[in-house]
């Protein structure tokens, strides 16, 4: 029977939301082809405790590998482990998340197995003789439908493309040692640096508040952070002008050469709306722009625009959002 294999991403001993998204997608495909969902979970000792959460979202079997060397991402040992699982089973598809880690692990695994891979897909369908996926290209200006020949098809799923839906699977677990020592790779992650873990990641936040050069100085990003805090479910983004100035880290950059995001709400503060910035956020469901120049191109894509000075409008907006959320609670 054809099954579906999923790699569940964890960090710091916790599952990431993208892991539940990937399992949800796999459950749907498995139900369609009449197979089981098998999940690979690797991590430092203790990670096995997370298997039950995967079962709630549809895992029939969770294959767990615990090793202290899996505390940091171990690209080579993880690839070896996943590739071995793929070869040892009958899989129609192998699903990864197109997270920063999955963008590394998925193509490594595909190259090892010499199988076709489609990355960063927004949807996929398993047909009788091929898997077809949609994959945005040309900085999101074109949507490509791709056809993968061969079994298993390997895909990485864009974060946020599927919402996690609880649907219990059989939830058996099996513990398997790593196939190579995670600390012995030729490429070794010596340290994982985590910023403020209280703030949401750009790929996961339903709301993104982004600041541009109009903020004028690093310390004024307090305005952006305060508005994000008022929403409560928001992450902070930036333009390249801002990351070049060093006001925010490069990891906050949204656009053609930064992160591609698609939140429910994107608020652009003091951002002109250069084509390279729009490339990273134009698929957001609702866009708000605040800019003092009424001719700024950002207004062409903004559902709601306010012409005004960020130093006036943003504090007022922060207060109004706080109030709106208090009265709705």
């Amino acid at each position: 029977m054809p099954n579906v294999l999923v790699f569940a991403e964890a960090r710091g001993g916790e599952l990431r939301k993208v892991a539940l998204e990937a399992v949800t997608a796999a459950r749907r495909v498995a139900d369609q082809v009449g197979g089981d969902v098998h999940v690979v979970l690797v991590g430092a000792p203790g990670i096995a405790g997370r298997a039950s959460a995967l079962a709630e979202y549809g895992a029939d079997l969770v294959v767990v590998s615990e090793h202290p060397g899996f505390a940091n991402y171990a690209p080579e040992a993880t690839t070896a482990f996943v590739a071995e699982r793929v070869k040892g089973g009958d899989y129609r598809a192998v699903i990864f998340s197109a997270s920063q880690q999955g963008k590394d692990l998925a193509p490594r695994t595909a190259a090892r197995l010499q199988q076709a891979i489609a990355t960063d897909v927004t949807s996929f369908e398993v047909g009788a003789d091929a898997v077809t996926v949609t994959h945005p290209g040309y900085t999101g200006k074109v949507v490509q439908t791709l056809r993968l020949v061969g079994t298993p098809a390997i895909v990485s799923l864009r974060p946020g493309a599927v919402s996690p839906v609880a649907k219990a699977g059989a939830g058996r677990t099996e513990s398997v040692p790593p196939s190579m020592d995670p600390a012995a790779g030729r490429v070794v992650v010596t340290e994982t640096i985590l910023g403020d873990t209280k703030t949401l990641d750009l790929g996961e936040a339903p709301v993104i508040i982004s600041g541009g050069r109009g903020l004028k100085a690093a310390e004024h990003f307090k305005l952006v952070e305060d508005l994000a805090a008022a929403f409560g479910n928001a992450a902070v983004g930036a333009t390249r002008a801002v990351t070049d100035e060093g006001w925010r880290p490069h990891s906050d950059q949204i656009g053609q050469t930064g992160r591609l995001v698609s939140p429910d709400l994107y608020v652009a503060l003091g951002i002109s709306g250069a084509i390279q910035h729009l490339a990273g956020m134009r698929t957001s469901k609702c866009i708000v722009a605040i800019n003092k120049d009424k001719e700024a191109p950002i207004f062409k894509v903004a559902d709601y625009g306010i012409v005004g000075d960020v130093f006036d409008v943003v504090p007022a907006l922060t207060a109004a959002v706080q109030q709106a959320r208090q009265s709705s609670n």
Partner: protein, 250 residues
């Protein structure tokens, strides 16, 4: 230090694309072309590494029809020593097909470092470098936003959600380059003149088997035109009402 950089020729993105009559490609009429963004960063980073070391040279490779020679010449005018075109009529979409040809060219080149962009800006796959690494049996660090080479070893930083990973690796190796390392220099007039005399070799591409194909290409649905609701802080109450009642995001 001997470095190779794989570069792809891509259309400039600041246009509204049209779909070709085949329905499987963009209409190329009137498009301008350049080196893919991240590949440009990789060329610059490679040049800076050899300049810092005071020794070594950088080669570039591009797979495609004769028009890629223009992109290769640009790299030569930036300061690259030698260029190779792996010639084929059309560039396949499949990274395995392309990577096979690149690996055959790179195999006996004696490179200490082979560099790629983290992904091509048109295809947006981010896969080719992994195929080459696997075929050549070399370690690979993907999406480096910082890179240092010293004493025959490399160290890099990769961006992850809300942080970064510090990575150490052995040479020879493959690295792919993310935003943050270097912006490509503009070729100088002297560089452009010198490039005309630099070697540009042309060999047939030994493409691998194709397993991933484009079925259709479409333009995403257009966004409705934007609307300005007012000026200054006075417009805030209306914005909040719209976010609550119309967009339902608050």
């Amino acid at each position: 230090m001997k470095i190779a950089v794989c570069i792809k020729r891509v259309p400039e993105m600041d246009v509204t694309f049209k779909i070709a009559p085949t329905g499987k490609a963009v209409d190329e009429t009137g498009l301008k072309w350049d080196m893919s963004d991240f590949d440009g960063y990789a060329v610059e980073a490679a040049l800076q590494l050899t300049e810092k070391a005071g020794t070594g040279e950088v080669h570039v490779i591009s797979l495609g029809p004769d028009v890629v020679q223009e992109t290769l010449r640009k790299a030569l005018s930036m300061g690259v020593a030698k260029a190779v075109q792996l010639k084929c009529d059309t560039v396949p979409f499949d990274a395995y097909a392309i990577g096979t040809a690149l690996a055959a060219e790179l195999k006996d080149g004696g490179y200490d470092l082979i560099m790629f962009g983290k992904m091509s800006i048109d295809g947006a796959n981010g896969v080719t470098q992994f195929v080459v690494a696997e075929l050549l049996g070399l370690p690979l660090v993907h999406a480096c936003s910082k890179l240092e080479i010293a004493d025959g070893k490399g160290s890099a930083r990769r961006e992850i959600e809300g942080g970064g990973e510090l990575v150490s690796f052995a040479l020879p190796a493959i690295v792919s380059i993310d935003e943050g390392i270097a912006r490509p220099r503009y070729p100088s007039l002297k560089g452009i003149m010198a490039a005309k005399r630099k070697p540009l070799e042309v060999r047939p591409a030994q493409l691998g088997e194709v397993r991933l194909t484009i079925e259709t290409m479409e333009l995403p649905p257009p966004r409705a035109a934007g609307r300005i609701i007012g000026e200054g802080a006075a417009a805030v109450p209306e914005l909040v009402a719209l976010l609550q009642n119309e967009a339902k995001v608050l």
